[in-house]
């Protein structure tokens, strides 16, 4: 009977295990292996691979462009994350407080998420940041703020921040919805009791809302980490050709594996795979650090 049970379990788990092996385990193992070799193309046979050991990794950390991409991603994660999550949380709290036209505002704030990143970044680049007749130029000129109106938002000095600002705009709605669903789970009785005890909005937020959505916050932080580490489309849109100002690890990886220039770019698929492995390690490390800092607690309410 025990043997039969094992067979049954194996047969039931079989398809899922097969899918996992084919779609996750195999690419993962192959990518790790590729990162230790020099190979002429992504689809080269293993017999054509040349073993390099950890050379691809050491070369990466000698590359100022790769280091620049890591710095860029750290800024996107830290500053972009702080802006996105705090604005999203603020909007969620306001919407949950019973503001008039809640459904309209919720849809309006979420709307940018329904537009493709390519279209959204084009709008920011070619209209809002446009240096001659763009929205910011006209707005600041109209307000008489000439020094702000003169800023070339897409010049190398400001391009990264312009990209980050527009990315935050495109991300707030998504996280707002997650926060909102978390806040709406909290029973209203708690707020009523707090109000009767004389707690103001600020106290209610810090003593009730924030502690009770801590698990939601942790989820949002994990999602933000994964999306920002894989930052690519916005970087590519904000620099037609790779530039140290906007490059990110995934853009760097793409350049190494496929090349983006007209001329025959020197490719290094092994280095691209090494970037992929490092990106995965960054996500895992960040995730485990966050898990330690924001310990999961079972909350019942």
């Amino acid at each position: 009977m025990k043997k039969r049970n094992r067979l049954f379990i194996l047969a039931s788990l079989g398809p899922a295990l097969l899918c996992f092996a084919v779609m996750f385990a195999y690419p993962l193992v192959r990518t790790i292996l590729m990162s230790l070799y020099r190979l002429p193309s992504l689809s080269s046979r293993m017999t054509d691979w040349e073993y390099l050991g950890l050379q691809n990794y050491t070369e990466l950390f000698k590359s100022s462009v790769f280091i620049a991409s890591l710095k860029n991603i750290a800024l996107i994660w830290l500053i972009g994350g702080a802006l996105t999550l705090s604005i999203a949380l603020l909007f969620a709290v306001i919407l949950a407080s019973g503001v008039k036209g809640k459904r309209f505002w919720r849809s309006a704030i979420y709307l940018p998420n329904t537009v493709s990143a390519v279209a959204l970044s084009t709008m920011w680049l070619q209209y809002i940041f446009q240096n001659k007749f763009g929205l910011l130029k006209q707005l600041f000129t109209g307000l008489g703020l000439e020094s702000l109106a003169k800023i070339n938002w897409t010049s190398p000095k400001y391009l990264f921040w312009a990209m980050l600002l527009s990315y935050v705009f495109g991300s707030v709605g998504y996280f707002m919805l997650i926060f909102l669903s978390g806040i709406e789970r909290i029973p209203h009785d708690l707020y009523e009791c707090a109000r009767l005890d004389g707690a103001g909005n600020w106290t209610q937020f810090w003593r009730i809302t924030f502690p009770l959505i801590r698990d939601v916050f942790r989820t949002c932080l994990t999602l933000w980490t994964v999306t920002s580490v894989n930052f690519f489309v916005w970087a590519r849109m904000f620099s037609s050709k790779a530039s140290v100002v906007t490059i990110t690890p995934v853009y760097y990886l793409y350049d190494k594996v496929f090349g983006t220039a007209n001329a025959g770019t020197v490719l290094n698929v092994g280095a691209g795979a090494a970037v992929g492995v490092l990106v995965a390690v960054i996500v895992l490390v960040t995730y485990s650090v966050m898990n330690r800092l924001l310990k999961e607690e079972e909350l019942e309410y």
Binding site: A11, P15, S41, V65, L125, S240, T265, V266
Partner: protein, 447 residues
């Protein structure tokens, strides 16, 4: 027990469905071949024709055009003509768009049957080359195409082959990289002679500036073509290739680099570059400055008139001129940069004669004239009339004495480009000096 049995059956069904899915990627069976119209039957290659009403032989073509592009419309007509003449064949097209270049090699390696590939010359030659593509000499030599194809493009395509004389690559659409200009602005500014030297170019810019226009503009996407052109004029294509792959930074100490940086910084300092030039993310300068008529000159390829046709309308007076020769130029001013889109037929193609026949239809005078008229391309065969907005490009090609590869180099390192691109934007934006441009690149290259 019944539940267990049901669960077992469900699991088995899932496994079977997975197995069934995996069959979808199998290479299609090769079908019987018949020589296409217009080809001489090769001895010993006779294969039975499909039965009347039976399945047709398939030619698979992965296009670098998207289906909604004008080029795709023209090629669809050419395919229809081919299929009408060769009723045993049908053409299956994957309108994959430009990014097809990234997946061609991996797709072929994974066993997907692709007969005809298409892409920029550098990608087709570097990513596929003779390892993947078939020598089509026996299907091209002696045909009408061999006589109509322009001599320059025939030798350009053959120059990428190991023996320098085979037809592994079929040139499709040549392009010319040079300075495009607005003739109306030039006339208004009183520029009656096109500049040939850098000094004359500065005088020309001054006249245009005095007339109230920005003399020249550029986008981030085309900066590298412009400074690459300049450097190749002074130091040659091979040297530029070394510069763009030199991670030590040593070659950046060459006086030619500083000379280039000084000349472009001078354009900025004298107000000849548009104010926004250091911050133009493509297509800001192309669409918002040159096509709208606020800037007089823009460095680009011969596809430009087609790309901005909806903005310029029919009244725009298109001009194209040679890039002015810098001081110490190795090349005469009558030099342009060039490149070409290439076709190739893969070694796994079961019907090379038919594939070559289809390519001949793509390169027929009729198809090429349609491409010129509808998509404003430069033809690869003679006997095609250019539209008015490309007339100057045609003239320039006739008058040219030299040409080298688009961007001034056929090789580069993406990392080095990423460093130069940011520094060049700062240089033409006026935020760093020519000396800082050189030292910034060298310090970043050295980590």
């Amino acid at each position: 027990m019944k539940k267990k049995l049901l669960a077992m059956m469900l699991a088995a069904m899932m496994l079977l469905s997975l197995a069934a899915c995996s069959k979808g990627n199998d290479t299609p069976e090769q079908k019987a071949d018949t020589p296409p119209a217009g080809t001489n039957q090769m001895p010993g290659e006779t294969t039975p024709a499909p039965e009347p009403g039976g399945e047709k032989n398939v030619i698979t073509y992965w296009a670098q055009w998207s289906e909604n592009e004008t080029q795709a419309d023209v090629l669809k007509d050419a395919i229809a003509r081919f299929e009408a003449e060769n009723q045993d064949y049908t053409v299956e097209v994957n309108w994959a768009g430009r990014d097809v270049r990234d997946i061609l090699r991996a797709s072929i390696d994974s066993g997907i049957q692709i007969d005809i590939v298409e892409g920029d010359f550098s990608n087709i030659t570097a990513n596929l080359g003779e390892d993947y593509l078939m020598d089509l000499t026996e299907y091209i030599a002696g045909t009408e195409l061999a006589n109509t194809i322009t001599e320059g493009m025939a030798s350009f395509a053959k120059s990428f082959t190991s023996d320098g004389n085979s037809w592994y690559y079929i040139p499709e659409q040549p392009f010319v990289g040079t300075l495009f200009y607005n003739k109306a602005i030039f006339a208004e500014a009183g520029v009656d002679k096109l500049p040939t030297t850098w000094g004359e170019f500065l005088d020309c810019c001054q006249k245009i500036k005095d007339a109230g226009y920005d003399p020249i503009t550029v986008d981030d996407a085309y900066q590298q073509s412009m400074y690459g052109h300049y450097l190749a004029m002074v130091k040659g294509v091979e040297w530029v290739g070394k510069l763009l792959t030199d991670k030590s930074g040593a070659l950046w100490s060459d006086p030619a680099v500083l000379q280039m940086a000084k000349d472009f910084a001078d354009l900025r300092a004298k107000g000849y570059f548009a104010e926004t030039v250091g911050s133009n993310v493509f297509p800001a300068a192309q669409n918002g400055e040159f096509a709208l008529g606020t800037a007089a000159m823009y460095y680009n390829g011969s596809w430009l008139p087609n790309e901005v046709a909806e903005i310029t309308g029919d009244d725009f007076q298109w001009g194209a001129m040679f890039f002015p020769a810098p001081e110490n130029s190795m090349y005469p001013y009558s030099t342009y940069t060039t490149g070409c889109q290439f076709f190739g037929v893969t070694k796994t193609c079961a019907h090379p004669e038919a594939a070559a026949a289809l390519l001949r239809e793509f390169l027929s005078v009729q198809t090429q004239q349609d491409l010129v008229d509808q998509a404003q391309c430069i033809p690869v065969v003679s006997g095609v009339t250019l539209p008015a907005n490309l007339a100057d490009v045609g003239k320039l090609m006739d008058e040219s004495t030299d040409a080298f590869v688009w961007g001034g180099s056929s090789i580069e390192d993406g990392e080095i480009r990423a460093i130069i691109n940011a520094a060049f934007s700062e240089l033409v934006g006026g935020t760093i000096s020519p000396e800082e441009f050189v030292s910034q690149i060298q310090s970043q290259l050295n980590g």
